[in-house]
């Protein structure tokens, strides 16, 4: 796959505040790539620069090897599905979808054929003459997708397109978007703050925080091999503890020496150690590598979420077996469940469940929805 879009040293500031900080990135032809990050991290701004709605302060943007930094949006072979759909209220469903073709003076027969095709693809056949204001959110979204795809763009930009839909519909649309992308085989650049959405749809995930790319990789890589504490915390749940890398494949944390599978660090280098809650086995205290006191247990359906206090650091463990609060348990960790990361500016900011509650999680998620 060749490079279709390339960002070289892109920076952008608003009112003296850097939103994107010299970003370098290339996007391959035909891939489903997701910009994932919290509210205000710069992911939407990056998308808007690619779409031509914002101009970068520094750096250049290439499309198919040609610089397009100063090419206006209407001349780019890139179309966008907006967060709030932005359908034209003065036109019905048919005319909304036909809009880009009418601009190109396409023949009436061809318009009819292509609009019908598009409506079939987004499962809205028979909706031709409806007014867009009578459609539900999900239906409006489909019209927006059809309208953006009808002129055969090479890239489709999607700015949190499922943000306004309810959970069930969102899951359906995720699958549908993925299958549309595979069917037509063009590049999709998707922006979201929802890590689950990013992991389940993308070929490549770009994790962005503070205007900088934290990690680029496949969903499995991002989950299993997070590069720093930010990525580990943002994607899924993680316990992140301070450790010392004694030598290759041997690490000490929580006053215990563990075997692990990572290497390539300096001797006695301080590191961040990530252990996913589902990778910890609960055993009897005397058999455990670590022991701790259970401070909280929450039933989550598939598993129990157990908070364990180990030497003052609260771990989260997911287990299908119930343990009683205030009891002592042992933890057993396999070598390949331990992931070692270099220290970064995010070290120590994440991965401790001392103040954890579902409510807190909910608040930070809701905040992320507000981003523009």
């Amino acid at each position: 796959m060749e490079k279709l879009i390339e960002l070289k040293g892109i920076s952008k500031s608003y009112d003296g505040e850097k939103v994107i900080d010299s970003m370098n990135l290339y996007i391959r032809d035909g891939e489903f790539i997701t910009f994932l990050g919290p509210s205000g991290c710069g992911k939407t701004t990056t998308l808007r620069i690619i779409g031509g709605f914002e101009t970068a302060d520094e750096g250049s943007l290439y499309f198919d090897g040609v610089e397009i930094s100063d090419v206006p949006a209407y001349k780019r072979h890139i179309n966008t599905v907006f967060q709030k759909y932005a359908l034209f209220p003065h036109l019905n469903v048919y005319e909304n979808i036909a809009f880009p073709l009418r601009l190109k003076k396409t023949s009436e027969d061809e318009i009819k054929q292509r609009v019908t095709e598009m409506l079939k693809m987004v499962k809205l056949s028979g909706f031709e003459n409806k007014s867009v204001s009578t459609l539900s959110g999900g239906q409006q979204q489909r019209v927006a997708i059809a309208r953006a795809l009808i002129s055969h763009p090479k890239v489709l930009l999607l700015d949190e397109p499922l943000g306004a839909l309810d959970l069930k519909l969102r899951k359906d649309m995720q699958n549908e978007l993925k299958s549309i992308q595979q069917e037509i085989g063009i590049t999709f650049i998707y922006v979201t703050h929802d890590q689950e959405e990013a992991l389940s749809m993308s070929d490549t995930v770009v994790v962005i925080a503070d205007g900088q790319i934290q990690q680029i990789g496949t969903p499995t890589d991002i989950y299993n091999e997070p590069k720093n504490a930010f990525v580990a915390d943002f994607i899924g749940e993680s316990n992140i503890v301070d450790g010392i890398m004694l030598e290759d494949k041997r690490v000490r944390f929580s006053s215990h020496v563990f075997d692990c599978v990572d290497g390539g660090f300096a001797e006695n280098e301080p590191v961040d150690v990530v252990i996913r809650p589902e990778d910890v086995d609960v055993v009897a205290p005397e058999k455990g590598m670590l022991t701790g006191k259970v401070t909280g247990v929450t039933f989550k359906g598939v598993h129990y979420e157990i908070i364990v206090d180990i030497k003052g650091f609260k771990w989260m463990i997911q287990s299908t077996d119930y343990v009683a609060p205030d009891s002592f348990i042992g933890l057993y960790i396999e070598p390949d469940a331990i992931h070692i990361m270099k220290k970064s500016k995010y070290s120590g900011m994440f991965g401790d469940y001392s103040s954890f509650s579902d409510e807190m999680d909910y608040i930070s998620d809701a905040d992320a929805v507000e981003e523009f």
Partner: protein, 272 residues
Amino acid sequence: MHSIAAAPHIFWAVLFIVLPLLIVLFYAFTDKAGSFSIWNIVALGDYMPIFLTSIELAVIATFICLVIGYPLAYAIARSKPEHQKIFILMLMLPMWTNLLIRTYSIMALLDDGGFVNSVLMKLFGTDEPVLHIIGTKGAVIFGMVYDFLPYMVLPIYTCVSKIDKHMWEAASDLGCSPVKVMTKVILPLSSSGIISGVTMVLVPCISTFYISQKLGGGTFELIGDTIERQFLNGARNIGAAISLVMMILILISLAIMNKFTDADGEDGGIIV
């Protein structure tokens, strides 16, 4: 319950809208003695040139208002929110002065011996007035545009400022050049504002009488002047007949305009 709540409004409407209309209707179809007659209507043929002049001047003034008003309203609606308030205030400010006083001021400014001419006479060193404005159609149109421009700008401004800002981006994203963005998306979306602006300027322009009297310098007569003169001279029946025809003309044009707004749904915005 509904009927009780609506009672004051119905009373008001009957007293000040329906009753006067009936009185106009009655006078239009009776002669001086009070017996039925269609001669008032038949006699209207004599006033045809006046009707035509009124419509001509009103249409020109409305068109000029639209040409000045749309870009102005658009620019205000697209400026920063904190600036919008100031611009709208500046636009409204002249409206706080009585229309009659503003019209007199224009007269004082543009008269042969007025401010503009005395300055120009000094400049060119002549004793003759340089610009003869008062008493021409141009002066009347100028007065109409000056007096009624805010009524064009305000509805268009309201309409444009309500358009979702993503419309501009969506249009250009789908291939519209800046000109096409206007013609294909923004103008159609602001049509309801344009139509109410046109209505709000056209109707008072057709029926105005003081602007033509003062700025027209008595050299020609508009339909509003004719109606006023008929009533002052006691010719109520012919005055009522002219009013009736005017009303019908205005209603017809409103109905035609409403047809246009109906096409793009419920957002309406028309003021009848």
